[in-house]
Assembly symmetry: C2
Homo-oligomer: 366 residues x 2
Amino acid sequence: MSNPFWSPALAGLEPYVPGEQPRGRKLIKLNTNENPYPPSPRIREALADPALVQALRRYPDPESADLCAAIATQYGVESDQVFVGNGSDEVLAHSFYSFFRHDEPLLFPDITYSFYPVYCQLYGIDYRTPALRDDFSIAVEDYAGPAAGAILPNPNAPSGRCLSLDEIEKLLQLQPERVVAIDEAYIAFSGERGGDSAISLIDRYPNLLVIQTLSKSHALAGLRLGFALGQKHLIEGLNRTKNSFNSYPIDSVAQRLAVAAIGDGGHLAESCNRVVATRERVAAALAELDFEVVPSRANFLLASPGTMDAEALYLALRERDILVRHFNKPRLAGYLRISIGTDEEMDQLLAAVREIQTAQGTSQTR
Amino acid sequence: MSNPFWSPALAGLEPYVPGEQPRGRKLIKLNTNENPYPPSPRIREALADPALVQALRRYPDPESADLCAAIATQYGVESDQVFVGNGSDEVLAHSFYSFFRHDEPLLFPDITYSFYPVYCQLYGIDYRTPALRDDFSIAVEDYAGPAAGAILPNPNAPSGRCLSLDEIEKLLQLQPERVVAIDEAYIAFSGERGGDSAISLIDRYPNLLVIQTLSKSHALAGLRLGFALGQKHLIEGLNRTKNSFNSYPIDSVAQRLAVAAIGDGGHLAESCNRVVATRERVAAALAELDFEVVPSRANFLLASPGTMDAEALYLALRERDILVRHFNKPRLAGYLRISIGTDEEMDQLLAAVREIQTAQGTSQTR
């Protein structure tokens, strides 16, 4: 597909395709890793503030200073170590532009967030994709050698597997002259109080950029708020790019709502703990149903349905108004990625799987 | 300024510097062209909708379909002729990437929105800047010849001067194989019901892209909502870029609030008419105070304070808590750009100018 009015590079882009957001139909939606529980009640209070309408008349603070300060306080860094963006996707885009446009290829896992190669296309970045091990874990030693940097989600998606801080440090030491970005979209589900976050390493590694989002952990996917933490010189680089693209990426409402949500650490912990408990229960239940379940530290499970065809199961679940995600890609085609919903939703999923297995067993017996 | 971790191009960027957004201090703020009147009352109603909090838990519609439909209805185009972005700055950024990265230089006026050369730097686009005439009008005939396309604000900023539709058509015909983007951020102040908008030309010109924003006309600078209108093939090009950058640029709240505001055409007309009436009155008053006032069709005036030094007047107004904008650039250094505020605010501006003139007259007499 090309067009005489387009920039030539445009025809070569293969844009990212987000998980389906069905409209209208009432579905059990386990396909885009949203949090099944509502955001902090402070969101409702912030929306009711009559000052909000008056604030909309004026441009928002281009630097989102209050929000950066709130994030800094909550995560134990300085305000000038915080960069905020319109969802972590925008933060990622600016990171690719700011840090990864070198002569060498960028490194990221062969199975990971499928937006990474799209950013590379967008900005003309070459890349190399070390393969995950057979158990879907990342082999950190593969990230050595000349490179434009490295990026990986931790926990990784769609595997849910998590690297230890020791492994992250090893990676940082393998690429001391390039930025290593750790995309922690799911870290809040990884352990006690996000204990495996690389944030604690920032002061020791000038090449470390940690990226997080309020989408999953804070149940605010609709708010579009992501952020990056790193030493000041990296944040300055991101701000140079941002201020050459859009001075005011975070609207007045989002700035205020995000400040409200960030401050409610109690709600965050409670919400994430519930999801983790459900994840563990469902992982065990799926294993009992002969699924091979990849050990997950995120709010989703990657699981292969034993003798069943994964795509057929995806379609059969869909017929029952249950939406999960199937990736038609090498090594993933035999798996489903199942977001963790409420206990009730997951019980409906498990019941549907049993029903489909029984029906299949019956038809195979015939 | 450079940094070993940055992409090499980053050091060469000279980011855009937005107009000051002073915090805390109570100022008469006439420096960033915000609308002095509140947005549609439907905004308050939309914010009070209890469904808003629940919507925030999920990803927003990546295609902002309801909003595109509302814009299409209001502006008399089809939904697939509408592209929405996180402020018109993001729409502009994607437009530069999508349409202007050719071998020839992009064309825009020497005096215009100062973000244009920044986008060119960001994406490595060469550009040529035909000079405005002495009266700050655009000489359309200068936009002929091999080019990557053309972009200009209409009304232009910071002059406020407006091209006629005949001139816009001439421009479109001079560059039939390249996109001509008309940045209509201020068009709602240009005449009866935005009569000079190029939207009416879209069906006849496959190279025409019209860009608008809710920031000024709809008093929603804080919401960050801009849009582009054009034939479907141009909108497809923008969507390719957007979907390679950020799938969900418009958050759930902004989508709903923008739909509410777009539908309230009555409020828009009333608000813009008030601003236009004030502009005409203030332009006449400044002329009486010996200012040279450029004829404006926008919500600001570019005016040269006669015998006074423009920068000194800017500073003297600032001392009196009145903020206007002074551009320290060729041909603009002798002018101030004054946003149109409420009648009361403008009366305070005029009184302050008289006071400063008198004080200066006194000091000159000494």
